[in-house]
């Protein structure tokens, strides 16, 4: 529990629910007859409705990006370091919207929700959703909130891919795209890690082809393994060394397969916590959405051609020790944007934390976000007058 809610926090927040009766056609060819999105908002929408920022979440994120749900909350939302009054995504100036994507397990329609057709949990029958589909559903949420154009769409990692897709799919509906620690598509190595994670889940004997809820069980061990693998890739060698080194848990070697090293204990703990809170089918689906994202594919692998329709200005940020989505991957996007003659700025922030750096309040990173978004805020407020 926070002793008291900090002054630069958005404070106590409550998720909201939007239900959409119209069918959503999905990239796979299937469609969802109706669906629900859970979202949170922080700050006030101005009279011209021009100061809205959409925050897109990464793999295991959701709608709770900032603030606290209750005074008992141990931790604030996942991007509380960047969102709040006076913070880079300044809720005194912006109206911030953050949602749980389709296929997630935190209230939006997904494998754990009830299929209205059958009255049972969707489970593995929930259709495969992609970054395309997410962005389409987010556009419907924008309609629902009566926001015709976002001041900015912002996301890190998988969230950055959504920001990129927004710029291509709805060029007129955003002024700025902020793409952080992201990539234009996964590398074979990235896909390989995802596949190992999926295999860990699917080979858990409690998985039951995804129908674990029917069997009244959960593939916890598989999900735990999947998260442990993921977690390794989110940190850098340096940050692991600094955090754990080769510290021994009990001070001596045990000559067995129990936990010897601190890093083992940490990974097991992280994996365990995650496996209690996240749905296995959602994890499978989200990793596939990552694998499938590749806007250049339809343009003969020409990313510049794919980005041609974009009208917004771009800011890209990468982190030096991020090996999951290394700076070179962000540079690929920058190069394509230059080729496509778009306005783009790019920063490579020196940070030891690896991929996870995009969630941390690293001064250079936060200052750049603040400076960039301050200009955006000025622009949308001038227009509003």
């Amino acid at each position: 529990m926070p002793v008291s809610i900090p002054a630069d926090s958005v404070g106590l927040v409550e998720p909201q629910v939007a239900h959409f009766q119209q069918p959503l056609k999905l990239l796979s060819g299937r469609s969802l007859p109706e669906f629900t999105l859970v979202y949170e908002t922080y700050g006030e929408l101005n009279a011209a409705r021009s100061n809205a920022i959409l925050i897109c979440h990464a793999l295991s994120g959701h709608h709770h990006a900032a603030g606290y749900h209750s005074i008992e909350d141990k931790k604030p939302g996942w991007w509380d370091s960047a969102i709040g009054p006076g913070k880079p995504i300044d809720t005194n100036r912006f109206f911030v919207v953050s949602l749980n994507n389709l296929g997630g397990c935190h209230g939006s329609s997904g494998p754990t929700s009830i299929d209205p057709a059958s009255g049972h949990h969707y489970g593995p029958d929930f259709p495969m959703v992609t970054v395309h589909d997410w962005v389409n559903s987010q556009a419907l949420l924008a309609d629902h909130l009566n926001i015709s154009q976002w001041a900015a769409v912002v996301g890190g990692s998988l969230g950055g891919m959504q920001a990129l897709q927004w710029s291509i799919a709805y060029p007129e509906r955003l002024r700025y795209a902020l793409v952080i620690a992201s990539a234009p598509r996964l590398s074979a190595q990235n896909i390989a890690f995802n596949e190992v994670a999926r295999q860990a889940i699917m080979s858990d004997e409690e998985f039951h082809q995804g129908r674990y809820q029917k069997h009244n069980t959960l593939p916890r061990r598989g999900l735990k393994l999947a998260r442990m693998i993921g977690h390794i890739t989110y940190l850098s060698d340096d940050s692991m060394r600094e955090k754990f080194g080769r510290e021994l848990r009990s001070g001596k070697l045990k000559f067995g397969y129990e936990v010897d090293f601190e890093v083992e204990s940490y990974l097991r703990y992280q994996g365990q916590t995650f496996s209690e809170a996240f749905d296995a089918n959602s994890y499978l689906l989200m990793t596939k959405a990552l694998d499938y994202f590749d806007p250049a594919r339809e343009q003969g692998d020409d990313l510049a051609a794919a980005l041609k329709p974009a009208l917004c200005k771009f800011l890209l940020i990468s982190f030096t020790t991020d090996w999951r989505f290394a700076p070179e991957r962000s540079r690929e996007i920058v190069t394509a944007l230059l080729e496509a003659r778009k306005d783009v700025s790019y920063l490579e922030v020196d940070a030891p934390q690896g991929h996870d750096a995009f969630l941390m309040p690293i001064p250079r990173y936060m200052e750049a976000l603040a400076a960039y978004l301050s200009r955006v805020a000025n622009e949308v407020s001038t227009d509003a007058q």
Binding site: L338, D343, L347, A368
Partner: protein, 196 residues
């Protein structure tokens, strides 16, 4: 406004595309976008400078010029500018080639090591010149490739580059009759406008 920017601005066509190598705090690009409506990008490695570009709303890409301009395609810019950075790059000759591959024209400014004060400093004191304008000592200077106007023009001749315009100015970027008479001796800063 730095008066060399005033000179450069005259050589930039309205609404053209400009790439500024080592763009510093983005002053030139901001100026060019205001006076010439250019679509400009700056390349820079200094985080403080990059932050200032972001504050100004200038497009800035973090990039080390010594690693080349491979991410830019041939003739993708009208003009490639490099002010006061030629002497600080590892391969000034290669960057010049790259500038004229990426852009149709280029504008380069650099300090003249053949200026009489430099000659006098080196000649009389026998030590590397240190001045208010070039305040570094030999071991901590970012400037690793000093040249004189004659050297630069010899390089242009060797590379078969066409000099469209040349201005020779003093530290305050004013032309002076002495520097017109004998640029290599009296000119402090060169501003070259080149094409291939």
């Amino acid at each position: 406004m730095r008066s060399d920017f005033e000179c450069i601005q005259r050589w930039i066509k309205p609404n053209s595309r400009v790439l500024d190598l080592g763009c510093g705090d983005g002053t030139l690009l901001e100026y060019l976008s205001q006076t010439r409506s250019v679509q400009g990008y700056g390349l820079e490695i200094n985080p403080h400078n990059i932050a200032q570009c972001v504050e100004r709303g200038v497009n800035v890409v973090e990039q080390d010029l010594d690693k080349g301009l491979n991410n830019f395609s041939d003739r993708s810019f009208d003009t490639v500018v490099m002010t006061q950075a030629l002497q600080a790059v590892h391969y000034p000759d290669l960057i010049l080639d790259e500038m004229l591959r990426v852009g149709r024209e280029c504008i380069v400014t650099f300090p003249n090591f053949g200026h009489w004060r430099c000659r006098a400093y080196l000649g009389w004191r026998g030590r590397m010149p240190v001045s208010k304008f070039m305040p570094y000592t030999w071991y901590n200077t970012p400037n690793i490739h000093f040249c004189t106007f004659k050297d630069f023009e010899a390089l242009c001749f060797q590379k078969n580059l066409h000099i469209l315009d040349r201005l020779v100015v003093d530290q305050t970027h004013q032309g002076h009759w002495l520097s017109k008479l004998s640029p290599n001796l009296f000119g402090e800063i060169a501003i070259y406008h080149l094409t291939r």
